[in-house]
Symmetry: C2
Subunit: 337 residues, 2 copies
């Protein structure tokens, strides 16, 4: 009797769920197209050397790599599509406008579950705006994400934005002792103001900078931007990142993006991001339905320096959120009858 | 300096070409949906044992397989989507209607180019009708393919149909001597009537069956069905396959499928097909823009016996044909000015 199971950690989507994902994906591509993003198809495999260039060492540990029997080359099944697009942008300047608006859709694969219960294969649909920096491009990314979420039925999803270098600047300015940085990151991820305060007292930076450290744990929710401005007055290096975020949010608001929550205390898992970062959250989804940010350092690693920003929708999480919403509607409709 | 090349034999599509493929794919899925085919997303990897169950030994040689570092399992990057769908049908009877109408879209990968100049990674979009046999299901597959080609701009594509067991029946009935079978297949692939005649004279079958052998090289073009009927009178075992093809074509015609060419002299490369086979051809494409057929033996290999039929559009070849056509139109428009 043949064992019909899949390789360890992979799974079949039920056809209904799968159809939902595919329909969602098709609708997202339609939205991306209205913003003049052109879809690109990228290969399933890349040479490991190329993948290594685009990922952090931590992310690299999760890459599924093997030696191709024919050529002896070490190849990887793509763990992320953004570095592939960066490679394409660098390798084919002749074939792309500048700036280039590209969108994609497809699975990415990891060697194993990043966390228990997370699938190894993840379906994404996203956009990348390459060769364009500054607040207008930042705002465009927020606008496209907001419109995309609205048009697929996730208008209730909440956008949250931050900046990859804000908390970093505050942590550096505090002058933490050796070994304390890791503990500060831990405390920050738990929004543990008291623990940050204790670390600040032992730090060696100027007192104003040290005093700003615990405030990092408070830079979310109502009034977050006002508190962040106070932090930036104490830590001038945080002023640039904050200004970039505020400009992007201002422009995005003018282009019709409604409320965007702010969280400037995020430091983990930002990977290649160098500027604003953002994500979309909706009830029912196991994690963010979409996430992205500015990555001005990545293109240079492939030999064609330039600014860039993009985001990816996690089709599975977005579908979970949509199914929750339609389930609620159906339940509410049933109760009324 | 980083080498930006892709693994040996893979290539990037230019963004324009890639966008054409993606648009084509989206339109095909729309057509499939109007016929109530539901899209399924299948994983990139399968256990090698599952892939082996679905392919001929020749096709297996082209499968890209490796040992997963984590689990030690031997896995394959999918070389074909139909066996994945067969596995799903067998593994998840609870989650699928019967018959099940499923469609898909995605890349398949081979270990190396099957022929010089052929890409290793091929983008396909197709449908499978599982659990339904007989002429109505056969005709449905032809109708869906015709409508799909019409609606994406390939109404000029020619459909050609045959049957996987017709030539086989004639070859068997002729009673070819050991070693002659391979030569007969060669002659047939060249439509070499004289060579088939010579082999028939040396064969050991009944004279009527032997006399039918060279006619196999003539079973295409105008009057092919009439000639095939004469062959089937001489070789009764060929009558069943011919009847299946004729019934399918009759029903398809009633459902508005126009002319379908017939070629009953095909024996090569039919893989898992057991019944009618068909393909679509259009100028400008390197090979068939679509191909498919009935495969009533495959599902049983996965433990849930049942009839099935399906086809796949080769997105690259179909795009080549579309680009040729629009290029011609543009050229004609230019000449008129």
């Amino acid at each position: 009797m043949l064992d019909l199971s899949l390789p360890l950690g992979l799974r079949d989507l039920t056809p209904d769920h799968s159809a939902h994902l595919a329909e969602l994906s098709a609708r997202l591509q339609e939205v991306f197209r209205t913003f003049r993003y052109r879809r690109v198809l990228l290969p399933t495999l890349e040479r490991l050397e190329v993948v290594e260039r685009g990922l952090s060492p931590a992310a690299l540990a999760g890459v599924l790599k093997f030696v191709e029997p024919g050529s002896g080359e070490v190849v990887a099944i793509r763990p992320d599509i953004t570095p592939q697009i960066a490679r394409l942008y660098a390798a084919r300047p002749d074939a792309l406008p500048d700036p280039a608006r590209l969108c994609y859709d497809g699975p990415v694969l990891r060697a194993r579950e990043a966390r228990a219960g997370r699938p190894r294969e993840v379906y994404q649909a996203g956009v990348e705006l390459l060769g364009a920096g500054g607040p207008a491009a930042d705002a465009e990314a927020l606008v496209v994400l907001r419109r995309a979420l609205d048009r697929v039925g996730l208008s209730h999803a909440v956008l949250e934005a931050g900046h990859a270098r804000f908390a970093e600047a505050v942590l550096s300015a505090a002058g933490l002792r050796a070994g304390a940085r890791e503990r500060a990151m831990d405390a920050l991820s738990r929004k543990d103001e008291a623990a940050l305060g204790a670390l600040a007292r032992e730090a060696r930076g100027p007192s104003r900078s040290r005093e700003a450290l615990p405030a990092l744990a408070t830079l979310y929710g109502e009034g977050a931007l006002a508190r962040a401005r106070r932090v930036a007055r104490a830590v001038p290096a945080a002023g640039g990142p904050l200004g970039e975020l505020e400009s992007a949010l201002r422009l995005a608001r003018r282009r019709g993006v409604g409320a965007v929550d702010v969280d400037l205390g995020e430091v983990r898992g930002l990977g290649y991001y160098t500027g604003i970062t953002f994500a979309g959250y909706a009830p029912g989804a196991g994690s963010a339905v979409a996430s992205g940010g500015r990555y001005d350092g990545l293109l240079a690693r492939f030999g064609r320096p330039g600014p860039a920003i993009g985001f990816a929708v996690d089709l599975e999480f977005a579908t979970q959120a949509l199914e929750r919403r339609s389930g609620r509607r159906a339940a509410a409709g049933g109760a009324r009858r």
